[in-house]
Structure formats: C-alpha cells, structure tokens
Assembly symmetry: D4
Homo-oligomer: 221 residues x 8
C-alpha cells in the first residue's frame, strides 16, 4: 500500500500549515497506513471528514470532534489569537462547517473567535455583534441558503471576508450551489469564496494571509 | 390575421386588472391589429416589452415610457395610492424593472411609491427608508445579483413582499437565475417571488391582493 | 450550547407570525435545547421537517402530525377562518406539503379550507370546486410535475395565488425544479411562488397578506 | 462541393415523407447546390429555417412563407385532410412553429386544421374549440412558457397528442427548456414530445402515424 | 382519507385506457384505500412503481410483476396483437422499463412484441430483427446512455417511434437526461419522446394512436 | 434622476477603497449624472465595464484604458508597491481581466506587478517567474478554461492566492463556469475565488487584506 | 431469460478486446445466466462494477478484485508490457478507477505501469516520475476535482493522454462533472477524455491504439 | 506588448506538433505581433478561429481557408498519408469542424482522408464507406445533435476513434452539450472525446498517437 500515497510532510514549511488528510474517499486501512507513516516520521496530521466509526477504529487515540468530523493526530502547537480571526455563522445548521474552520485553525496554532446564528433574516443579531467583528483582522463568514450574510457584513466592515457557502436547506438551495453563486454575485466588493461546506479551506486561506500579509510575516528576499 | 389572437377584454372584470400585450415575440403588424381590435371595442390596453421602434410605428399615439418599455393605449383611470404600495429597488440597473411594475399599477389605477438604490451592500440606505416602507400595505422588492434585499427587508417588516429578481450582472449571476434561486432560498419566511425581470407580474400580484384581501374588497357569496 | 442559537421570540410581534424551527439540519439535542429555552420564556414554537423519531424523543409531548412532519410546542390560539384561505392541491402526493401549510396557518390562528386531488389533467375535478375557491380571500396552490394547476386557476379567479411547487415525480420533473420553473413561467399574470415543498413559507406569505392587506389590518402611521 | 452532401431522395418511399433541408447551418451556396441536385433528379424539397435573405438569393423562385421560414422547391401533391390533423397553439408567439408544422404537412400532402391562441390561462378559449379538436385523428399541440395546454387537452380528449414546446418568453422559461420539461412531466398519460420549436418534427411524427397506423395504411407482410 | 383522492374511473371511456395509480409517492394505506374504492365500483386498476413490499401488503392478491414493479387489480381484457406493437430495448438494463410498457399494454388489452438487447453499439443485432420490426404498426424504443437506437431505427423504418430514454449508466449519462436530450436532438425526423423511464406513458401514447388513428378507430362526428 | 442613485462617497473611509461605478447596466446619462455628483463633492470615482463609446461621451476627460474598460475620474493617490501584489495571468486572452485588477489597485494607491502568459500547459514559463512571485505578499491569479494555474501555484508558494476565473474559450468552458468550478474544486488548500472576469473584485479583496492584515494596518480597539 | 441478452463473443476478433459485462444495472441471476452462456461457448469475460456480494454469489469462483470491483471469468492471456502503458493517478481516492483500467488491460493481455498520488497540487511528485512516464507509448491520466494533472502532463510529454475524470470530492466538484469539463477545456492540445470514473473505457481506448496504430499492428488492405 | 505573450516555439520538438494561435480572444494587433515574433525566429505558425477580417488585415499574406477559419503562416512540410487518418463527419453543418482537423493535420505534415455527410440517420451512407474507413489507422468522427455516429462506427471497426461533438442544431442540442454527453455516454467501449467544435484538438490527439504509438515512433530510452 505504501505506493498508494505520498504524504506532504514538508507542507508546513513550504505553505505555512500542516498536512491534512481528507478521509471521506478513503478506507480505514488507507488512513491507518497514513497515520503509521506519520508516526514513523514524528509528524502531526489533521484528519477532515472523518466519520465517527472511522475515528473509533483508528489508533492510537485521536483528539476527535464529532460535530466537525475532524481529528488531530499528534501534538499541536499552543494556539495564539493574534491576529484575531472571527468565524461568523448564519444559522445553527452551519455550525459543523464553522467548527471545521475553527479546528483547522487550532491545529495550526490559531484560536478563532466564534459568532454563531447571526443570519441577516434577523438583522439585529448581527448588529449586536459588530463591535466584536470589527476587532478582527480576518473574518470567515459561513452561510447557506441565500447566503446574504457576507454581503451585508462586507458593506459594513473593511476586513477581508472569506465566504463559505453551506449545503443546508432544500429545493432551490440546490445543495449549496445557490449560496455559492449568491456569494460570488455579491455587489459588496472584495468578498472571496471557497467551495461549499469547505471550512477547512477557509481556515487555510486565513493562514495564508497571516503567513504572508500579517505584521510579523517575513517576506522572501 | 384575426384568427391569430383572442384578446381577453373581460379580464378586468374577471381578475381585477386589464388586458396586457407582451410585445417582444410579436410583429408590429400583429400588435397593430390587436390595437385596432381594442379601439373597435373601446377598450384600453397595456403594452409591455414594447421597443421604441415598435412604439413609434404604432398608431394612434401611445403614452409610452422608454425606460420600462411600456405603453398605455386608451384611457386609464385616475390612480389611487390607497392601499399604499412600495416598490423598493436594490440598484440603479434594476430601475427599468421597477418602473415596469409602477406603470402596470398606474395603468390599473394604483399609484406606487418608489424607493430606489437601497441595496443591502450599503445597509444604511435601506435603514433610512424603513419608515416609508412600514407605511405600505404591500412591498415589491426588485433586486439582482445575490438579491439579498428581500431577505433583510422581510426580517424587519411584516408586509407581504413580492420579490422580483433581475438579470443584471455577469458570470455567477447567470442572467438572474442566482437572484431568483437566492430569493426562493431565503431564510426569511413568507417571501414570494415572480419570474426574472417580471415587474409586470409583481404588479398584478399586488393587484390581486388588493382586489381580494384589502379592506374594501367584496368577497363572493 | 446556548451560544449556538438565538431564538426570535419577538417575531410574532414584529412580523405577525410565531417563531418556527426547521429541524431537518439539527440534532435532537439542539432542538431540545431550543424547546427548553422556549419553555423558560413561556413561548410557543412550531417545528417543521421534524421526523417521527425526533418528535418521539423530544419532551414534553408535542402536538405532532406525521404526514406534514410538523409539531406544535405550547399553546396555540383558537383558529379563525376569516378571511378565508383555500389550500388547493393537485395530487395525492402533494398532501404532505399542503398539510404543512395548513398546520402552519393553524399554529398562527387561521383555519384553512382544503381542496385535494384536483389537478388539471382531470379538469372537471377543479371545475366542481370552483365555487368554494371563489369564496376565499387567498389561495395556496400546491402542485408538482408540470404544475399547471395555478396557471389554470389564476385565469379563472381573481384571488392572490401562492404557488408551491412540489418534488413529486421522476426524470424530467427534476425533483421539483420543473414545477418551480413552470409556475414562474406561467402566462397567467400575478401568480407568486415559494420554494419547492415549502408549505410553511406559503402559509407565512398568506399571514403577511392578512396582517397588512386585510380589512382589519391596522396600518402604521 | 458535391462530396459535401448526400441527399436522401428515397426518403419518401422509405419513410413516407419527402427530403427536407435544414438551412440554418448552411451557406446559400450549399443550399443552392442541393437545389441543383434536386432539380437534376426532378425531385421536390422542403426547406426549413430558411431566412428571407437566403430564400431571395436562391433560384428558381420558391414557394416561400416568411412566418414559418419554410420554402417548397418543386411540385407538391394536392393536400388531403383525411385523416384530420389539428394544430393547436397556445399563444400568438407560437404561430411560427405551428405554421412550420402546417407547411411540412402540406408539402407532404396533408391539410391541417389550425386552432390558434387557445392557451389555458384563458380556459374558455380552449373549451370553445373542443368540438373541432375532437373531430381530429391526431393533435399537434404547440405551447411555450409553462406549456400547460397539452396536459389539459390530453385529459379531455383521447387523440394522440404531439407536444411541441416553444422558446418564447424570458427568464425562467429558459429558452423553451421549461416548456419541454413540463410537457415531459405531465401527469396526463400518453403525451409525446419533440424538440423545442420543432414544428417540422411534429408534422413528421403525424405523417408516421398516418403512414402506418391509419385506416388506409398497408402493413408489411 | 376519502377526500384525499378522486379516482378517474371514467378514463377508459374518455381516453381509451384505464385508470392507473402511481404508487411511488403514496403510502400503503393510501393505495389500499384506492383499491377498496375500486373494488366497491367493480373497476380494474393498474398499479405502477409498486415496490415488492407494498404489493405484498396490499389485498386481495394482485397480478404482480417484480421486474416492472407493476400490478393488475381486477380483471383485464384478453389481449389482442392487432395492430401489432413492437417494444425494442437497447440493453439488458432497459428491460424493466420495456416491461412496464408491455404490462401497461396488456392491462389495456394489447399484446406487444418484445425485441431486447439490440443496441446499435452492435449493429448486426438490430439488423437481424428489422423484418420483425417492419411488421409492426407502432414501435416503442427503450434506450439509455447515448440512446442512439431510435435515431438509427427511425432512419430505416416508417413506423411511428415512441422513444423512452432510461436512467441506466453513470457520470455523463446524468440519470437519463443525456438519453432524453439525445433523442430529442435526433436528426431522424418524426421521433417522439416521453419522460425518462416512463414505459407506462409510452404505452399510453401507443393506445392513443390505436384509439384514434388505427383502421378500426371510429371518429367523432 | 437624482433619486435614482445614492453614491457611497464614504466607502473609502469605511472599507478602505473608493467608490466604483459598474457602467455596463447604466445609460450614459446615468453615469454622467453620477460624475456630476462626484464633481460637486470633489470625490474621485473608478468606472468599470465602461465601453469606449461611453467613455468618449462622458466629460470632463477621463483617464481611460480601453483594454480593461476602466476609467479614473478625478485625482488618484501616488501608487505604492509595498506590500507587493503580483497579478499572474495564464493566457493572452486573460489580460483584460488582469488589467482591470491592476487599474483598480492603481486607483486605490497600489502598484501591482504583472506576470503574463504563464499558464501551466507550458510549465517552464511559470517556473521561470517563481522567484518574482515569491517576493509578493498577495497573488491574484487570473485564468480561464481549466484554470489549473492557481492549483499549481498554490502548491508551490505560501501566499494568499485570489483566483479570478475568466470566460475565455468555448464549448466545455461554459463561459467561465468550468474555470470557476475548477478553482473551487482545487485540491490545493487555501485558494479563494471571486466571480468570473471580476478583476475589480480581486483587487478589492487584496485591498481588504492590506487594510486589515498587513504590517502597517491599525486594528480597531 | 435467454432472449434478454445477446453476448458479443466475437468482439475480440472485431475490435481487439474481449466482451465485458457491466454488472451495476443487472441482477445476480442475469449475470449468472451470462456466465453460463460464456462457459458453454468456452469464452472468457470481464465483469465491471461487480459488487462484492454479487461476486461472492456467482459461480464458479472468479478472479475478483474488490478495489476495482472487477472480476475475470475464464482464462486470460499472459500480459505483455510492450508497448508500455502508464496509468497515472492524481490522488489516493482515484485508485479504484486507475485499478479498473489496469485490470481491463490485464484481462486483454497488457500489463500497465502504475504511478499513483502525483497530483499537481504537489508538483514535485509528478516531476520525480516524469522519466518513467516518458518511457511509455500511451498514458492514462486519472484525476478528480479540478483535474489539472493531464493539462500539466500533456504540456511536458508527447504521449497520447487519455484523461479519466473521477467523481471524488464534494460541492463544486459536482460528482466529477467539473473534472470532466476541466479536462475538455484544457489548453494543452491533444488530450482526449472518457466518461467520469470510466477506467474501463480508457483501457479500451488504449487497446484500440495498440491494435491499429502500434508498430506491430497489421493494417487492412 | 512583448511581455503579453510567450510563444512556444519548441513545441514541435517537445510534443510533436507545431505552435498554434487561437485567435478568437485576441486583437489583430496581438496576433500581428505574434506573427512578427515568429518571422524573426523563422518559425511557422497555425492560426485557428481566425475570422476573414482578421486574416485580411494580417501580413504577410497567409494560406487562409475561410470554411475552417484557419491560416498557415510560414512554410509547411509536405504531407504524408501514412499512417492513414480518416475524418468522418455526420452532416453538412459539421464540415467546418472537420476541415479544421484536416488543416491542422496538413500543417503538421499529415494528409487526412475526408468522408462527409454519413450520419447514421441514413445508415446506408456510412455502410457504403466502411471499407475506406477500415483502411485507416485512426478515425476522427465529427458529429452534432445526438452524435450517434461514433457509437455505431466504434462497434463496427477496431480503430481508435476520436469523437468531436459539434454545436449544430437548436433547443435540446444545447449548443453541442448533448452531443458531447452522448459521446461520453456511449456504450461502445474505447471512444475518446475532445471539446465541442474542437477539430484542432482532435487532430493533435491523432498526432500524439502517431508520434508515440505508430510503427515508426522512436521510444525514449
């Protein structure tokens, strides 16, 4: 099986965040073999889309979170909350995706600030939390259905906003495609978007910003 | 040519609003023949999607509006503004559709209240006009792109809101399909929607509400 | 968990209908926590898309209807049938959606009039019920497949018609998208539409009309 | 150029209707070369989607109809109206497609009966013409937008109904795809459908029925 | 429950084929209630999309066929094979749909002639059966994937061909939409098409042709 | 006309970049009126999607660039190139979009570094420019067709990468939707995406990063 | 059942590769009947999409591979690796499809060379294997998500490249349609593509090349 | 302008076919600049999608073909017809795409054999040309609409078949997407496909086969 995968153990050095394994398309045997290789090299790994059954079958024990379907293998660095990252979610059903982003950041040494259930169908909920949001350097905005949250938010605050459309809902939501297309069609300038339900990708985008744009980021010569 | 159309001159009596001719798929000869039939029967007609060239070629002279591509043939009743109808449009490019709704209402004896360029990417613009909107019995909300306006508005006011998605924009807006799907996917309860760019249909929906639900609407026995 | 949701207990006052919880994307624990919060505040709640298993697991006992997958938590006001609302459904398979609309209205103090299995493939069925439909102030028309019912009905009666496309059928029905697009493309003027299978939304749209347009609706000054 | 096309001059014998040339994708030179070949073999041809400019440039003079963009080259047989074929069209904008069907039938020796502007948004128009429709052996039903006409008609009469969706309208009509899908999703059993705007194909389907199913059709041994 | 359905027991008289119940969207209780009503009126019924479990739970015993998921309730007329109907299927996976057509014809007193696994990827298989096909008055052609069978067949024989696209395959077949669109796009003139997997509808279309176009079909005066 | 638009002259202060007018959906009269309002308030404006004809008709003279269809109205600040922004474009046809991004940055006081025609179908072209790219803080990657450029680039460098899919190509490119979906589906973590052809939006996203994340960005207290 | 299938036992002679049975749409009884027919004629068969349960139920024992869901029935020729075929796969989740291609080749007497997990998000992985790839006559490139592998590879090597898009991923990957469209939109000239997840088809395409184009391929006179 | 393009003058050496310029998205100035660079380096170029107006404006004179919109700049090698390549086209409207393939081959030193207007709706036309097709080493099959030609052909002959779907037709043809999907869904094994209307790409695929698989192809060591 060893010729079936090539783990990118140098990713942290090259890109600024650690290797992660997307488990959904893999067998438990494949993931276990990857963990074994990581253990041999004394590397940590982040597992995403890891179902409860797979997590229970893997060893040694992982730091597993069922809501986000993520697991940490190996040690993680202590988390810093500077620069501050806010994760804003529109509805209760968006929480698993928001948590995937939070856990990805935590695995990579960043503590995010969670602001949940503030969709713009009840505008006052968002308005009450604006002061907290303004204190952040980066905002990850998680929203499904018509996904109007990033549009409204982006018109009010100057932060970079990484939109994560989610697949909640039915019918016209088209499994998240409407949320995705609505975010891309926003008349608020400067929003960016990642794939549907991709909390992991949004977190990595934030890490790239911190690695290269933030105050303490060394530029190549 | 007389067997090619059957004008519904009793629509007003039956449905509460007058006959309208959608000109886009018809030749000038066909529309002129319809006008001639209306003149013979001393009936008024509303023309929609009537291009400037066609309007200029038709006779006798019409009450034509180029922005909305609508024309009135024959006399129209004086317009009442009770119950009050607000037409709210998100952007400057949505004005032709908003105007089509306004002109349809005017042709049928209703004067609407226009509130333009109040998209939620600049939330304060909408907030400044909320008192006016609250005074209405019915709201027609015209918006393209991600079409977040009705979602935000519907969370703030109890009015029936008739959403009109528009085809402005490019790429992910998909000629208005994203706006349409976003409105249908709204987490604000009780929004209703008409076809893309269909200002005429939204006005007719408002007229149906007035005809049957409003204070002065006689119910059938 | 208390930071994971923000219940809109003032919705009734603000919008004219009570808070509802869409259960499909939530865990039983989340819904139970919401019920507990409602009980503390002595508020009633409507649950939609609540599966039988979830309803059985929740406490205290709910007024549950399996066909529509809806539940009432707490007391509901006695239902009035003025102004009269008709719910017209095209086929037997559309009944769950029709019932969701009926139950939403009942939770909010309105008794609807049900007219079932009157699709226009057998036109005489609809024609036999027209007198009943004409007596209503508002019509909710539930139909799947080619969804021709609202088109035919809207050409015959002046009521506001709220179309609810349903996801019944296979192949070219595209899980309700054909019904949705057909309703939006109707040549009958003044139809409005809500999301596929969204009986709840159609009921809320009717409640908005009653709240603001009906005879006894007080307008803001 | 002679190796660029292979005209099917035996089609009439094999399939029961004559060769037709779809001009839209061809140059005037190509079509002229085809006409020359037909003339040499003393064969008649039907031209479809033949624009006015192309028709004017071709020689010798053709029997051309601008509305349907069809032309007859060569002699056509006298047209019989037994068995009777009805072409029913929902709106004025559907007439060009209905006429293409009529002209295709005429070219092949059949006289159709036209019933225009009887869409079901005004149901009484169709009802007034039902006796005429019942006298036919075959019905071609041309309709765009939500295309409810064949559904209603097919529930009332036992004739084979060949649905022709048209591309009229805008937005949710999706250039005729909604009409097409609605016809295919009809709950009226036994409707069949051809491509969008394909009046020619519908006529050929009727000719196949007459050739093989009709009273006077000889069966192969 | 009796107000939840309105069975069309006069369909046979009106349209020439008996009432059928589409079971997929209905509960066993609903279908049983419909059977009870049919028994009371001494009418036969055809059940389609009736799963094995439902068929086993219904009473009294039905004439059930698992492959086509169809059942006959009550007596059926002896089946005639004049005029001759051929059902031609491209692949082994298309057999359930072909059989649904065959059983629908049998329920309505017509015996079809089955010609299976003759897809044009192995052209000689079709060519070997052409003499049989030529003896028919009507051809039902069932095919999935690229659905080239009706195109090739329709170029060779003059019969009316009712295409039934099927949902077999994966990826680019798009659950039958590619087969559907390919049939509609055929360059063979005069093909007609029904919904994906709709063997029942194809059979009804054939019955309509026989009822009105065939040699022994009485025309209305 | 003054009630038809509400210019956001405070955007710069609130969001960190100036107001821009999307001209494509507006008449020359509307844009001129907006310019007049800006002149009165002594504000600068960026015009995007401004066709040559419109630019020529507007006054006073603008700083116009035909390739990107952008114009500057009023004074612009001197451009800084710290932090360094690289705009990387895959093909010659992507240049107009790349230039729209560059001009938007210049209007807002940032000088970008252009690296053109380095698509990965000729990998050595990109590899030769990697040292320049590594020196940047932010990368805007413009690519159409299969849009593989950001995937390859993002695996090699740690910069935040803002993908701009373009609408070049034909057929399977689907006017840029394939490029958009490919970027969103990238297995390189941390890419973000804006709307098709939206060079303006990508530039604004970069400006948001600089405003809030960069070394010299003051955070709110 | 014997009239339900017509096995193409001469395919090997006619096309250069043996008959294969696609099991996904067939019952175990149907597949067993096909095996029995093959045994009678002493022919070998390849089974694809054969689930573990079906393989276990079939007899006599097959050479079964669970990863690729393929089985060999009967003897297979010894495998040659000249001309050399490379199967290159982008990710671990693409292995089942790659293996289906490999097994199809092996069944037809060709031994492929597997190069796995070399997606271009980690470019160095591909670059390390280029010398091996250059030694091949034909390359099968298996990739999902944005499927950039064939584009990069095809720009570097002159081999014919048969792209196989896979259905791995979620959201914007659209079950492989994005990978498919991206490969077709590639700016690398001369790539060809087969259906999503169709490892079998890619192998057959390679066999066609070998049969007719390779050094030892006899041409028809 | 010299930094706006990077011509791949070594492509011939690396991939086995010369550089080509896709003119559709470029200005005449850009293409002229590319020609000037080629002239300086004494290289030949193939121009594709080069409109008549652009070809006329470029200098020095080109070897231009209006039907295929291709031009040769510089000298081309004498064309060999071994191994033999057949280009088979289904209809007259497919000729421009077929010719683009032929011209691309000619530019790269290969003479193709053209077999036109042999679509399977008239099967005998294809059958008459089978002997010629069997003599080829490679077949390029150009077809639009339902694109059944490659399916039928691939079942009869063992050659590698490169399918080129075309955008001819209307309605359900979806600008060639139906042809594309039908080819990919073919039940004939081993077909490969290129982008819609991409005659150029099909020719390059054939050149790759010849370069690496053909008798005289040297393999890398």
């Amino acid at each position: 099986m060893s010729d079936e995968f090539q783990i990118d153990f140098d990713r942290d050095e090259r890109l600024g965040f650690g290797e992660a394994i997307f488990c959904a398309g893999k067998s438990t045997e494949q993931v276990q073999a990857i963990l074994d290789a990581a253990m041999q090299q004394q590397k940590s790994l982040l597992l995403t889309r890891c179902a409860l059954e797979m997590a229970a079958a893997l060893g040694p024990p992982l730091d597993y979170d069922e809501v986000s379907q993520t697991a940490f293998f190996g040690a993680t660095a202590p988390a810093s909350d500077t620069p501050r990252i806010a994760i804003v979610a529109a509805g209760t059903s968006d929480i698993p995706v928001a948590r995937e982003a939070e856990r990805t950041l935590r695995f990579n040494g960043r503590q995010a600030h969670m602001i949940l259930d503030v969709g713009v169908a009840g505008l006052w909920r968002l308005q009450a939390r604006l002061p907290e949001i303004r204190k952040s350097a980066i905002v990850i905005a998680v929203a499904g259905m018509d996904a109007a949250l990033p549009t409204v938010l982006g018109g009010l605050v100057p932060q970079p906003i990484i939109g994560v459309p989610t697949s909640v809902g039915y019918g016209a939501t088209r499994s998240g495609e409407t949320a995705l297309m609505a975010m891309l069609s926003s008349c608020t300038p400067g929003l960016t978007v990642v794939n549907i339900d991709n909390g992991y990708g949004a977190a990595c985008a934030a890490l790239r910003m911190i690695a290269r744009v933030a105050a303490d980021a060394p530029l190549d010569q």
